[in-house]
Symmetry: C2
Subunit: 367 residues, 2 copies
């Protein structure tokens, strides 16, 4: 299991938590199954009421002809890109250099499909129309991640999205949406999921991030695309005899949280403002465009960690449980606003940020 840091330990014991929906424990599953009819039969290898009903619901949400439930987004997205590559008879796709496919999947796309990837922009920017326009030839599909998680959850404007979509259509390049956090960006765009998805040929959507299910993903597109994706799902060993342990919680928490994205978005903007008003702290983006952002420090992890421990101990509010080091010896942490933010009494939120400001100033201004 490994030892846990002091920050993790203090965070675990804190009375309130600033981020996320709650602890990922067995209760998350139990709650979702509590009122489920015990006689309800399992899905069987992708067939049956539980999986078919949910897939229809997700097809309707995304405005696509069909949708398929996958155990993971990793599997779903590699398959989407492979299908588009096969359609064009090439093995090349384009995405952001910090795409999930590039940094979290052990080169699955290359190792399993021999698909080469082209980076559309540099690490610190969001993809723009010009990036796509000057992309090299022979790309079967462009993948856009909304929001771009690894840079704090940034978004192109909806106008840019439309232009990229039009450009790709004109050039017969498929456009795939890494919509791990699709619902989370709708309040910023002021669009429905279907309106955003209409710009894309294929859609991946996660069921455990903003929605807070246990695991699982949806891949949506036209009928032929989904049909092909089911064959690949079987090839990957993703066509499990029973996926209901993920589908039922996905559906349960979708119904409870899909309407709360506006709330998370506003609270995320409020929280970012509070962080930005603290000495030596800035958020990326400065004004969040979804329920997520990054909190950056100019100091090293070793310098910042004791400050956060102090703040969390004094206020009982868990701000984060770990800090990530950057290449330039600074550090940051990621914030996803979920159910827990609004559960903290407002005066305690204020107290926590006052303490954070004070501790930062004390330790870093006059160390």
């Amino acid at each position: 299991m490994g030892e846990i840091s002091q920050l993790q330990s203090v965070y675990n014991r804190s009375t309130y938590k600033l981020t996320n929906h709650g602890v990922r424990n067995v209760q998350v599953l139990k709650e979702a199954f509590q009122h489920m009819n015990e006689d309800l039969e399992s899905d069987m290898y992708g067939k049956g009421q539980i999986i078919e009903d949910f897939q229809e619901k997700m097809a309707a949400l995304t405005g696509k002809e069909d949708a398929v439930f996958f155990p993971s987004g990793t599997m779903a997205q590699q398959i989407a890109l492979r299908i588009w590559c096969d359609e064009k008879g090439v093995r090349k796709v384009a995405y952001h250099p910090l795409s999930h496919l590039e940094i979290h999947e052990e080169d699955g796309l290359k190792e399993l499909h021999c698909i080469e990837s082209v980076f559309l922009t540099d690490r610190n920017r969001v993809i723009d129309l010009s990036d796509v326009m000057k992309m090299e030839d022979g790309v079967a599909a462009v993948l856009l991640e909304l929001p771009q998680r690894e840079i704090g959850g940034q978004l192109p404007s909806f106008k840019t999205l439309k232009e990229i979509s039009q450009f790709c259509r004109d050039k017969q390049i498929r456009l795939h949406l890494d919509g791990a956090r699709l619902l989370e960006v709708l309040p910023y765009y002021q669009k429905s999921a279907a309106e955003v998805c209409a710009l894309f040929d294929s859609i991946y959507l996660s069921l455990y991030k903003g929605i807070g299910g246990i695991a699982g993903a949806i891949l949506a597109g036209d009928r032929d695309f989904v049909k092909q994706s089911k064959v690949w799902k079987r090839r990957y060993g993703g066509d499990l005899i029973s996926l209901y342990p993920y589908i039922i919680p996905a559906d349960y928490y979708f119904d409870r949280r899909s309407q709360k994205m506006e709330q998370y978005f506003k609270e995320s903007q409020e929280a970012a403002e509070r962080f930005n008003s603290c000495y030596g702290i800035s958020t990326l983006p400065a004004v969040p465009v979804s329920n997520m952002f990054h909190v950056h420090f100019q100091q090293s992890r070793a310098q910042v960690e004791p400050i956060l421990v102090e703040v969390e101990q004094r206020t009982g509010i868990g701000i984060t449980n770990h800090l990530i080091e950057t290449q330039d010896q600074c550090c940051y942490f990621e914030v996803h606003i979920g159910d827990q933010y609004s559960e903290i009494p407002k005066e305690l939120v204020t107290k926590a940020f006052d303490q954070l400001h004070q501790s930062m100033e004390q330790h870093l201004k006059h160390p």
Copy 2:
């Protein structure tokens, strides 16, 4: 959902079922979670107490250095074979022509890994030492399935297993066990799981067949093999944020059923004897070597189905819910003996087989 056949419908309404553990419904999950501590934290991407404890338990069971939990056997086995191919620097493996990899995985091994497969014997036989000895050169790994499901669950002798193992070791060919039903063959061999597994370099074991979990598989082997398999698990999108919805039921039902394999085995022999004493019915194998066998008819599905409907209606005992057509226009069904067999009062079992014999004779001898 599709329409269900009359046989399926009568079977569903029958009071008792001859085969399997029970309906695969939501209750299977609820029972396993009933007494679980709600505060128990989820595994996270392959780490954490729930997954690590279970993996250790399975490593101990199989007598291997390490084990890893996979969402499916399809994923686990392709990965095992890929690792052995990479080790040898070739892309060729050998198995039975009716291996799961060949007939149920949409050519995943070929499509994802460009691995060529060599068939060791013909469809109707179990693999023998001579098959392996005369196999073409350049094979990285041999896969043996115990028991060979698609031919009714047949087994080589333990002596043959040992000889194949020795031959492969001498030739530096890796031997992989498709042990989907590993526990189910131990009573026949009168060996421990570890004794059987000692003959193999890598082991796959299913957690929802004889054990009756919801889904999931174990892949076991030496430390380096397991380490590599975890990288591939990530590449496949099988390294889910939470696998506990499968692991907890796997562990729960393992503890309840792993000691009942001897019982299932004996009941399977008893049931086969009863089938074989019915007019026009024979089992494959004639004497089962595990908890499974096939029940064969010399007539077409259209002829046999009404007979089974009649028997199930008259006796209230569900014998099977569907018949599989063979290439020569006959039909069969598969039997897995599980918890439900012993729940039927003995006199009703006798009554059901008497009725089956009588109906078969009546409809087929003097039609």
